[in-house]
C-alpha cells in the first residue's frame, strides 16, 4: 500500500471516532456542536502523558478517555435540561471555551535538551511515541482500525440490547421514556460521558498520528463535520457515520478528482441528500427494510 493510501485510511479511522460520538448523541435525540472539544481534550491529555511523562500510549489513551468522559460529564451537568438548539449552542460554547483554554496553556518541560509540551497558539510539537516505539504507519493503521472495530462492535451489542432500545426511545420521546420509569437525566449524562470518551480516544490517536497538534485543529469545523458525517451516512445503524466519513474523506479527498473544489461538491451533495433523506442514506427505514429482507430469506 502506498504511503498516501495509508494516510487516507488512517484519517478515515481517526475521524470515525468523533463521528461515532456525534452519532451516539444524535440517536439519543441530542445534537452536540461540541464533540471537537472532547476530541481536543483527548489529544492534549494523551500527548502530555506520552511526550512529557513517558507514559506508554495504551495507558495514555485510557487516561485520555477518562478525561474526555469527565469533561463531557461536567459540560452535561448544567445543560441537561436544554434541548435542541439550546443544547447545541451550549455545547458549542463549551467546546470553544476548551479551544481557547488550549490557546492559553503554556506548560512545557525540558526533555533531552528540548522543550516539550503545549505552547498556546504555537501548538504542541513532537508527540513522537509511535515513532519511538518503532511502530510503522501501516501498523498504526491496523491499530486504529482494530480499535474502531472494537468500538463498532460495542455499538452493535448495545444497540441490540435493552439499553439500545432505551437510547432510541429517549431520542424519540423523552417524556414517554420518563413515564416508563427511565431516569432520563442520569441516562443522558451517561450517554454524554460515553460520547466524550469516544471522541477523546479519537483525539488521542490523532495526536500520535500527526505528532503535532494546535488549538485550531479543534474548532467548530471539526464538530459540524462530525455531525454532518453521522447525518448523511444515516442514523439507522452504527455503519451510517462510518459511511459518511468514507464518502467525504475516502471518495472526495482520496480520489483527488474534485481537487480544489471538493467542498463545493461535498456541500451541495449534503444539502441535496438531506432534502431526499433527512435522516441520512442508511436511515432507520432502510435498515429495517434490509433486516426484514434478510430474515425473510432465511
Amino acid at each position: 500500500m502506498s504511503d498516501y493510501a495509508i494516510g487516507v485510511l488512517t484519517n478515515i479511522g481517526l475521524v470515525s471516532f468523533i463521528a461515532l460520538s456525534a452519532y451516539l448523541l444524535l440517536i439519543a435525540g441530542e445534537m452536540s456542536f461540541g464533540q471537537q472539544g472532547f476530541f481536543g481534550v483527548g489529544a492534549y491529555v494523551a500527548g502530555i502523558a506520552t511526550a512529557m511523562y513517558g507514559i506508554p500510549l495504551p495507558v495514555a489513551a485510557v487516561i485520555a478517555m477518562a478525561a474526555g468522559a469527565a469533561a463531557a460529564f461536567l459540560v452535561g451537568l448544567p445543560t441537561l435540561r436544554l434541548r435542541g438548539l439550546y443544547f447545541a449552542m451550549a455545547t458549542l460554547a463549551a467546546a470553544e471555551m476548551l479551544r481557547i483554554l488550549f490557546e492559553l496553556i503554556h506548560f512545557q518541560r525540558e526533555i533531552d535538551g528540548e522543550l516539550v509540551g503545549p505552547d498556546g497558539t504555537q501548538g504542541f510539537r513532537s508527540i513522537r511515541w509511535v515513532f519511538e516505539a518503532g511502530i510503522e504507519p501501516a501498523d498504526f493503521l491496523v491499530i486504529v482500525w482494530a480499535l474502531l472495530a472494537l468500538a463498532v462492535t460495542a455499538f452493535i451489542v448495545v444497540e441490540r440490547s435493552r439499553l439500545g432500545a432505551t437510547l432510541r426511545m429517549l431520542g424519540e420521546d423523552p417524556e414517554l421514556a420518563r413515564m416508563l420509569g427511565i431516569r432520563v437525566e442520569r441516562f443522558k449524562l451517561g450517554i454524554a460521558a460515553a460520547a466524550g470518551a469516544f471522541a477523546a480516544l479519537g483525539g488521542a490517536l490523532y495526536a500520535h498520528h500527526n505528532t503535532y497538534i494546535e488549538p485550531r485543529n479543534f474548532d467548530i469545523m471539526l464538530g459540524v463535520h462530525s455531525l454532518a458525517y453521522a447525518l448523511i451516512g444515516g442514523l439507522g445503524t452504527v455503519f451510517g457515520p462510518l459511511f459518511g466519513v468514507l464518502i467525504d474523506i475516502g471518495v472526495l479527498e482520496g480520489s483527488r478528482v474534485f481537487q480544489g473544489y471538493r467542498m463545493i461538491v461535498f456541500g451541495g451533495l449534503v444539502a441535496l441528500l438531506l432534502v431526499v433523506r433527512p435522516r441520512g442514506l442508511l436511515d432507520e427505514r432502510f435498515v429495517h427494510r434490509l433486516r426484514f429482507r434478510a430474515f425473510r430469506h432465511t
Binding site: 444524535l26 435542541g84 481557547i100 447525518l231 444539502a271
Partner: protein, 294 residues
C-alpha cells in the same frame, strides 16, 4: 481609569452596533422559521467578496459597493433558503441546520477559489476624522453603524406590527396552516423574510468590512458566531432583545479585551453564553414566542 472605562464603553458600543445588526437579521430568520441558519454569515461574506471583486476590477463608489454587498448577500440567502429551508419547512430542524452548514462550505471554497489571497483591502466608507468629546473619540463609522442598527430595529418592529406584510408574517409564525387557509402564500412570505434578513446582514457586513478596511474568509464564521451570540443574549426571537444583546456583547468584549486580552475576551463571551443558556435559557428578555424546544 475613568477615561479608559468611558472610551472602552464607546468602542464597545461601536462594535456592539455591528453585532446588533447581525443579530437582528439572525433573529428575523429564527423568529419566523424556528431554524438556525448557519449560512447567515457566509452569505454575508459572499456579498462582501462580490463587492471586493468589483472594487478590484472596476471603479465603484461607496454606495455601489454597499448595494452590491447587500444584493450579493440577498442572492446567497435566497440560494440557502431554496436548498436548506424550503424543503425542510415541516421536517427536521437538525437536517435544515446541517444543510445550511454544507452550503457554508460551498461559499467558503467558492470565494477562496475566485480570490485566493488570504486578505484583501476594502475601501473605507468615509475618510473623515473621528469626532471627539474632550479626550474621548468616536469614529464616524461607529455613529453610522449605531444609527443603522437603531433605524433598522425600529423600522422592522414597525413593519412587523403595523403593515399587512407584518401581519402576514406574524400569522405564519403563529399558525402556518391557518395562514395558508386564509390565503397567505406561506412559502413566498418565508422567502421574503429570508431576503429581508439576508439584506440586513449584507448591510451589516458592508459596514463591518468598510470600518475594518479589510476582508478575510473568516468573516463568514465570525458573523454567524457573533450574530448567534448576540441573539442568544438578547433572547431568541425578540428584535429589541437582539439590539440590546448586540450592544451588551460589544461593551463586554471591549472591556474584557482592555483588561484581560483578546483570548480572555472570547473566553468570557462564550462563558457568558454558556451561563445564560444554563441559567436563563430564554435569554435576558423573554421573547413572545420563546420555547425550550427549538
Amino acid at each position: 481609569m475613568l477615561f479608559d472605562l468611558l472610551q472602552n464603553t464607546l468602542d464597545g458600543l461601536a462594535m456592539g452596533s455591528a453585532y446588533a445588526l447581525l443579530a437582528v437579521g439572525f433573529t428575523l430568520i429564527f423568529g419566523v422559521l424556528r431554524r438556525v441558519n448557519l449560512s447567515y454569515g457566509p452569505a454575508i461574506m459572499f456579498g462582501a467578496y462580490c463587492a471586493t471583486w468589483v472594487h478590484l476590477n472596476f471603479q465603484a463608489g461607496v454606495l455601489a459597493l454597499a448595494l452590491i454587498t447587500i444584493a450579493g448577500a440577498a442572492l446567497a440567502g435566497a440560494y440557502v433558503e431554496r436548498l436548506c429551508f424550503a424543503p425542510h419547512r415541516n421536517g427536521s430542524a437538525i437536517a435544515a441546520m446541517v444543510a445550511s452548514f454544507a452550503l457554508w462550505m460551498q461559499f467558503e471554497e467558492l470565494v477562496t477559489l475566485v480570490m485566493p489571497k488570504h486578505l484583501y483591502d476594502f475601501p473605507p466608507m468615509l475618510s473623515a476624522d473621528p469626532i471627539s468629546f474632550g479626550p474621548l473619540t468616536l469614529p464616524i463609522e461607529a455613529l453610522v453603524m449605531l444609527g443603522c442598527a437603531l433605524a433598522i430595529g425600529f423600522g422592522l418592529q414597525r413593519l412587523l406590527y403595523r403593515s399587512r406584510f407584518g401581519l402576514a408574517v406574524r400569522a405564519v409564525i403563529d399558525a402556518p396552516v391557518a395562514a395558508q387557509l386564509a390565503g397567505i402564500n406561506v412559502p413566498r412570505i418565508l422567502m421574503q423574510v429570508f431576503l429581508l434578513a439576508s439584506s440586513i446582514g449584507g448591510l451589516a457586513g458592508y459596514l463591518i468590512v468598510s470600518t475594518h478596511t479589510q476582508i478575510t474568509p473568516m468573516l463568514g464564521m465570525w458573523s454567524t458566531l457573533k450574530g448567534l451570540l448576540a441573539m442568544m443574549i438578547g433572547g431568541l426571537g425578540s428584535l429589541p432583545g437582539a439590539i440590546v444583546g448586540g450592544l451588551l456583547l460589544g461593551v463586554l468584549e471591549a472591556h474584557s479585551q482592555w483588561f484581560l486580552g483578546p483570548q480572555s475576551r472570547d473566553l468570557l463571551a462564550y462563558l457568558l453564553l454558556f451561563a445564560l443558556l444554563a441559567l436563563r435559557p430564554f435569554g435576558l428578555w423573554r421573547a413572545r414566542h420563546a420555547e425550550t424546544r427549538a
